[in-house]
C-alpha cells in the first residue's frame, strides 16, 4: 500500500472543487467588481443597480397634477400655500387616475397642525409660520370647514 497520509488532503481538494462547481451555478454571472471601482466598495451583483433604477416612482410632482386639476393648481399657486406639493396632502399619485382612480382627501386637523401648531422656538423658522394653539383655535372642528386649503389667505375667508 502506498502512502495514505495525503488522503484527507484529497478529500479536502474534492470538497473545494465541489464548492467551486456549486458556486459556479449559484453565483450570478455578473457578480464582480464594477469597472472603475475597487474591491472594497464596488464588489457586487452588477445588475442590482438596474433593479434599483427600475424601482417604481410614486410621487409625480405638481406639474403632473396640473395637467388635469388646473383649477386647484392655479388656486394654490396663487396662495400662501404655493410652496406645498399637492401630494403632501393627497398622498402619492402612483398611477392616478388609472390606479388609484382617485386620491385621498384628508380633512383632518392633523394634516394642517404639522405646520401650524405654534412652537416658540426662537432660532427656527417654525416660529415664523402663522401658528395657532390647537387647544384654543376652534377645537373639534376641521380646519377646512373655515379655511380653504388651496387658498388659505385669511382675506378670502
Amino acid at each position: 500500500m502506498k502512502n495514505h497520509v495525503l488522503r484527507p488532503l484529497f478529500v479536502v481538494i474534492i470538497g473545494v472543487a465541489l464548492l467551486l462547481v456549486v458556486r459556479h451555478f449559484m453565483v450570478p454571472a455578473d457578480f464582480g467588481v464594477q469597472e472603475g471601482g475597487n474591491f472594497t466598495y464596488n464588489f457586487h451583483r452588477l445588475s442590482n443597480v438596474e433593479d434599483w433604477k427600475n424601482f417604481k416612482v410614486k410621487y409625480r410632482g405638481r406639474e403632473y397634477c396640473q395637467e388635469c386639476h388646473e383649477e386647484n393648481a392655479a388656486s394654490i399657486l396663487d396662495s400662501p400655500h404655493e410652496v406645498i406639493q399637492c401630494e403632501n396632502c393627497h398622498g402619492p399619485a402612483i398611477d392616478h387616475p388609472d390606479n388609484p382612480e382617485t386620491l385621498a382627501i384628508d380633512t383632518s386637523r392633523a394634516q394642517c397642525l404639522r405646520c401650524h401648531t405654534y412652537l416658540p422656538y426662537p432660532t427656527s423658522q417654525r416660529s415664523e409660520l402663522p401658528g395657532i394653539d390647537p387647544q384654543d383655535h376652534n377645537p373639534g372642528e376641521n380646519c377646512v370647514d373655515c379655511h380653504n386649503p388651496h387658498n388659505p389667505d385669511l382675506e378670502n375667508m
Binding site: N48, V49, K56, Q85, P92, R126
Partner: protein, 256 residues
Amino acid sequence: MSCSRRDLLKNTFKATLASTLPLSAFKMLSPAQVKASVGDANVRWVFLVDTQKCVGCGLCVKACKNENEVPYDPPITRTWVERYVLMKNGQSHIESPFGGRDGYTDTSIHENEIPADQIAKGFFVSKLCNQCKKPACVQVCPVGATYQTLDGVVLVDRKWCIGCGYCIMACPYGMRFFHPVHKVAEKCTFCYHRIIKGMKTACVQNCPFEARLIGNLKDPNDPVTKIIMNQRVSVLKDEYGTKPQVYYIGLDTNVR
C-alpha cells in the same frame, strides 16, 4: 410564424419609442443627469440640509416611506427629523418619535411641558444616509450585498443580503435597519430610481421650505455645489473617517 424578423424588429423599435417618448418628451435632462443615468463617474450625488429652514413638518419622512415602500407604521425609517430644544439652564431635550413622520404638533417633549420663556434655542435637524465616500457599512459586508455606485450612492442587493446585521452595527449614524417585509438590510438610496431620471428625491421634492437639496458635487454650476463650496457647511460625526456627503447648514454642538 408569419411574422418576419424584420417586422418584429420594426415593432419592437416602435414600441420602445412609444414607451419612452412621453417621459423624455416632457423632461429636459441636464448633461449631468444624462451622465448619471449611464453610471458615469463624473457625477457625485451629495445632499444639503439647511437646518435654519426646517420647520419639522415631517412631510419628508412621510413621502420617503410612501415612495420607498418602507412600512408606514413600524418605527423604522430611512430618514427622520429630530427636534432639539435647548434650555437657558443648559439642559437639552431631544426627540424623534416615529422619526417625526407626523410632524411636531405639541410643545411638550417626552411628556415634559417645556416653559416657553426658558427656551434658548429650538430647531429641527433632518437626517438621512450620508452616502459616505468611505462607507463603513460597505467595508464590513461579508458577501458583497451592499456597495457603492460610481456616482456615490450606497445600495443594498435584496437578493444577495444574508441579513447578518454587520452593516447596521458598522454605521455610526444608525441609518440602517432590517426591512420588516424583505428581511434584509435597508437604507436610504437617495431615491436612486428618481435621481437617475432627473427627478429630485421624494424628500427634496416634498419639502415645502427647501430645507433639503440634492446636487452633483462634480458639477461646478450646480446650485448645491456652489453652496457647499462657497458657504460654511459642516458634516455629522466626521471623526469616524467615513467622509459623509450630506452637508449641513446651521448645525449646533448639541446635534447628535
